[in-house]
Amino acid sequence: MNAEMNAKALIICLLLAPAPGMAQGFAGLGADAEGFAVPMPNPDFAFPEDHGPHPAYRIEWWYLTATLSGADGQDYGAQWTLFRSALGPETGRGWSAPQIWMGHAAVTTPDMHYTAERLGRGGIGQAGAAPEPFTAWIDDWAMTSTAPNGADALSALTVTARGSDFSYDFDLQAHAPLIFHGDGGYSVKSAEGQASYYYSQPFYYLSGTLMLPEGPMPVTGTAWLDREWSSQPLSQTQEGWDWFSLQFTDGARLMGFGLRATDDTVYTSATWIAADGTTTAYPDGALSLTPLITEQVAGATLPVEWRVELPARDLDITTTPLNPQSWMPMSFPYWEGPIRFAGTHTGRGYLEMTGYD
């Protein structure tokens, strides 16, 4: 969901934003949008162009999370994220081009959480993204379209990443169309009207291999890709968010997030996605997120079990993480990992929590 995108974007933004901005919101995402374009309502997306980068906006991400099952019967999770953060609203070539890219990759097992981070410059070709043919990359990490001509570029992908102690290689096939959050992809993030462009491909089947210290592990599962860009997705009073992507056993999906403000109020938003890709957006207040159990993670106290309620859909579930220590110790640290849930509905999903450190 965009919250997680926000986290990454925030990180990038941090890199770019002048120091005073860092005091505002997680990873500087609350900084103002001076000189950059601002998302406007009623977006008119054009593909494949909008799968590529939008340098006029400050932050942007390609955010993939995958819930996996290994050949050993074990649950796994995997993350592949590429953030773009602009120091200025230009592209340009060479060392001084103001586009900075950041990649995060992770593999979660019940007792380990492998992570890696890459930073790079857009002006020299070390990192970047292109719509046609679609590819997004940093160093040797890449998300590349394998879709046949005429199909949406994101409908089939290969995704690779490598860290000091792990690597993975996935093939993804989507079985339903792209979906758009909020009002046709215009996703409001605060009562003051901060917003981003936000769409997803939540319907991937995945197969591939995890290379772990113990050896290769064939995996299958599902994956969810978020695309989001903005110039100022958070209000200055918002300090972090909790973001859920849930896959129900009947094929439906739910994206929901809560943006926590310094006055302890929470701004929530949710998108119900039917198995055929039809979406229903829910405004602030429809979704309710309640922390149940907290745990010490990397020195911070985080809620690792949640009660998630969406009365409009008779949803009342409790989520539990595969590995409570799914901490991403990056330039801007956050929690991100696979979850299972039970209650009125059952299934698997992903949870991201930022702004707790």
């Binding site: 941090l14 890199l15 770019l16 934003a17 002048p18 120091a19 120091l87 200025g88 060479g94 060392w95 001084s96 103001p98 900075i100 890696a116 930073l119 790079g120 410059r121 020299i124 070709g125 070390q126 990359w137 160093d139 040797d140 490598r162 860290g163 000091s164 102690d165 792990f166 690597s167 290379m211 210290p213 330039s331 801007f332």
Partner: protein, 801 residues
């Protein structure tokens, strides 16, 4: 009782404040010179370590191109895209307005944590947005306060920035230096899982981490030099302390006897005296450490200039304070005082309770010592000769110096005695005979001070001969080597071409000079390509050369190497030198290359262009009538808008080179003068000591009819005689020292051997200086003698029995 005894002993110093001052001053001076030199060395070593750890160079390997050229940007991106964690650095030097600044452009996004970049990507004080965006230069306070090129991005003061360098974003560096390709790539030691070896992925050469050792090895000789001077000064300072303690003990003999007689145990007396020495040592040591700090702070800018000029080692000209160093200084003061006072304490311990002084018997006993010393001296000098003949390396050079100096010093009393005895045979008249015999008897008491004088004089002769020889050779070499009148550097190949056309239109001869960093025989070195021109054939000084040397260089079948490479690798004419990349070439000539620590080779222009096709021709030497030089330089600067530094005439380069040279020996000169001053002071204190002991010898002569003023004049004359004789021995010692410095130490330390020139004028000057020092040292005791009340002389006879 202890307090009373202490009071009795200490009252001596109240009555002789001058002596107390001498003792403290001597010890403080010795400590100051020693600890000052230590402070300089420590500061420099710390700077080398800092420099070596800049950007983690001491831990991180680098990828470089074999030919020393920058790494193509595409190669860097390709390695990243293949998954290897390498980080680019663009480094270079900015010049302008007579200032230079080393620029280190780093990529914060990829730099390995081991590089300890002074700007963390998050959580630091630096505005990362500005660092990556508009750009800023991180420099240390000393760099910011110095001369800097114009039009720099904003500076930010960071203590961890290396000396004389600025750390900045690679984008800013690329803009400032007009260079897009990384100079080298830092290799992260933790590469991702599952990748093949880096060497399979690239043609770039993996250079291992550089150790501080590299620059340390180069500068070792310099620091050893300083240390040797510091030790010499310390030893000379100890002579003063020895003399002052000896005098005080001599004068307190009666007090000791009285104290013992009234019941103070010997052990307690010794203990009290030892405590006294330690207290003085701590006080003097503290003063010495403070003085040493002042000396080091004064000399450090000069030392920094020397190290920069000679070795390219960057150290800041400011001195930090280190507690360990200060405690070390105090310890050496206490140790020195203990050594200097040991003899006196032993004498007190052995002193018969009721015996009177027996100077002649003491002198006879000393004669035995002199013989032993003579044998040791002979052994040491033979050792020095043997090391000089068969020894190798810097340590051997200094061992040779040490053996030579100590041997000469030990031989001094014996040789002086021999000379005096010889003079006695020729002497006529009882007074002169007495005078000579009496001088001989004084030798044991004066010998330490005279040895100090000998050491100081020899060091002075040796070092000034070495510096003088070097200067004479260097100036002559510069005259030959800088045969062209004007040197021009273009910024780009296109500009170079325009300049070439412009100058060719005026009918001027243009000699392109191409150079690149590469490797020779496996070590980093420079290779130059030069045109075949009479300028070189006629003027370029060669140490050894094949008969057809210039033809061989011109047709690419031979290379010239510099003396450093030649001597370091033990090469001979006709041996091959391997350019990497490039052909193997026979050595056809060797040239002097003073002031350059690295190896160098010169090859013909066409071979150079063939071997290093990417090196741009940017530098030219220009032959032009001397009276047109200034006009042409101005015209070139104006027409092509060249920076001042890009058009240099011969005179400017010469001046610059000589400045570096003078800088190099400024510290040596200062220490030289200090050492000589300390030696004169040692002579003064020794003479003062003796004056107090000598009344029994003088009284009979006075009684026989010599006036006190005659005796005083004779004392003065004797002192001058001894100084002259000492100088006579110092001269050959100093010349031997100079020879060792030139032929052994310089070759080992710098890689060049210099012809020895002698400067008799300097010797005369030094002799006069030594005589003045001896006269000054003798003046006070002589004056005191002239004013000794006759009653004091008469008392000698009353006390005799």
């Amino acid at each position: 009782m202890v307090y009373t005894a202490f009071q009795g002993l200490f009252s001596h110093w109240w009555r002789h404040p001058g002596q107390l001052l001498t003792l403290l001053a001597g010890l403080a001076l010795a400590t100051a010179l020693w600890s000052g030199v230590q402070a300089i060395n420590a500061e420099a070593r710390a700077a080398y370590d800092r420099a070596a750890s800049t950007l983690g160079q001491d831990q991180l390997s680098r990828l470089v191109r074999a030919d020393g050229q920058p790494v193509p940007l595409a190669d860097y991106v390709a390695l990243r895209r293949a998954g290897y964690l390498v980080s680019p650095v663009i480094s270079g030097e900015l010049r302008g307005d007579g200032a230079r600044l080393r620029i280190l452009g780093i990529d914060l996004l990829t730099i390995p944590p081991q590089a300890q970049a002074p700007v963390p990507i998050t959580g630091g004080d630096i505005d990362i947005g500005q660092f990556l965006g508009d750009g800023m230069l991180l420099v240390n306070a000393a760099t910011a306060a110095g001369a800097l090129p114009a039009d720099l991005p904003p500076l930010s003061i960071t203590d961890t920035a290396p000396p004389a360098a600025a750390i900045t974003d690679i984008g800013t560096a690329a803009r400032l230096l007009a260079q897009t390709d990384p100079s080298y790539l830092l290799v992260d030691p933790d590469q991702p899982a599952g990748l093949g070896p880096l060497s399979d992925a690239t043609d770039l050469v993996l250079a291992p981490p550089t150790q501080a050792g590299d620059i340390t090895r180069l500068t070792d000789s310099f620091h050893l030099n300083l240390t040797a001077f510091g030790l010499l000064s310390f030893a000379v300072g100890l002579f003063i302390v020895h003399a002052a303690i000896g005098l005080a003990f001599e004068q307190r003999r009666s007090s000791f006897r009285t104290l013992r007689a009234v019941g103070v145990p010997l052990g307690q007396l010794i203990w009290l005296l030892a405590a006294e020495i330690i207290v003085f040592a701590v006080v003097a040591g503290a003063i010495g450490v403070a003085l040493g700090y002042a000396i080091a702070a004064t000399l450090l800018p000069g030392v920094a200039g020397t190290l920069r000029g000679l070795y390219g080692a960057q150290i800041d000209g400011t001195l930090g304070f280190n507690a360990v160093w200060a405690i070390g200084g105090l310890a050496i003061a206490v140790l020195g005082a203990a050594v200097a006072g040991a003899q006196a304490l032993v004498r007190v311990a052995k002193m018969p309770l009721l015996a009177a002084a027996q100077p002649r018997a003491w002198a006879i006993a000393a004669a035995r010592t002199t013989r032993v010393q003579g044998v040791a001296a002979f052994g040491l000098i033979i050792t020095a000769v043997m090391i000089a003949m068969w020894g190798d390396g810097l340590l051997a050079g200094f061992a040779c110096l040490a053996a030579l100096l100590i041997g000469a010093a030990l031989a001094l009393p014996g040789l002086l005695a021999l000379m005096l005895r010889g003079a006695e045979r020729m002497a006529r008249g009882p007074f002169v005979e007495w005078l000579l015999a009496d001088t001989r008897q004084q030798l044991p008491g004066l010998s330490l001070a005279l040895m100090a004088l000998l050491l100081a004089l020899s060091a002075n002769i040796g070092v000034s001969t070495m510096v003088g020889s070097f200067r004479a050779t260097f100036v002559g070499w510069l005259d030959q080597r800088l045969a062209s009148e004007l040197y021009v550097t273009a910024r780009t190949e296109a500009e170079a071409a325009e300049i070439r056309v412009y100058l060719a239109d005026q009918g001027l001869i243009l000699l392109p000079i191409l150079s690149t960093e590469t490797r020779l025989g496996g070590a980093p070195a420079d290779v130059f390509g030069i045109a075949d021109d009479a300028t070189y054939r006629d003027n370029w000084p060669l140490l050894v050369a094949a008969p057809d040397v210039w033809d061989r260089v011109a047709d690419g079948t031979g290379a010239l190497v510099n003396e450093q490479l030649y001597r370091r690798d033990g090469l001979r004419l006709g041996d091959t030198v391997t350019l990497d990349p490039g052909p193997n070439l026979p050595i056809v000539g060797v040239y002097s290359d003073y002031g350059n620590p690295t190896g160098q080779a010169i090859i013909g222009l066409s071979l150079f262009r063939e071997t290093f096709p990417t090196v741009e021709t940017l530098r030219f030497a220009l032959r032009v009538a001397p009276d047109q030089v200034a006009d042409l330089a101005t015209a070139l600067r104006d027409r092509f808008d060249l920076p001042t530094d890009s058009v240099l005439n011969q005179a400017q380069i010469k001046q610059f080179s000589l400045e570096i040279f003078e800088q190099t020996f400024r510290v040596t000169g200062a220490l030289n003068i200090l050492t000589l001053g300390v030696a004169a002071f040692a002579l003064l204190t020794s003479l003062l000591t003796l004056a107090g002991m000598r009344l029994p010898q003088l009284a009979p002569v006075w009684a026989l009819g010599q006036t006190r003023s005659t005796l005083a004049r004779v004392e003065l004359a004797r002192s001058l005689l001894l100084a002259t004789l000492t100088f006579g021995l110092a001269l050959p010692t100093g010349l031997a020292l100079a020879w060792v410095l030139l032929a052994v130490v310089n070759v080992a330390a710098f890689g060049w051997r210099l012809p020895m020139h002698i400067f008799p004028g300097d010797w005369l000057q030094l002799l006069i200086f030594a005589l003045i020092a001896a006269a000054l040292a003798a003046a006070w005791p002589a004056l005191r003698l002239a004013r000794t009340p006759p009653a004091a002389l008469l008392k000698v006879f009353a006390h005799e029995r």
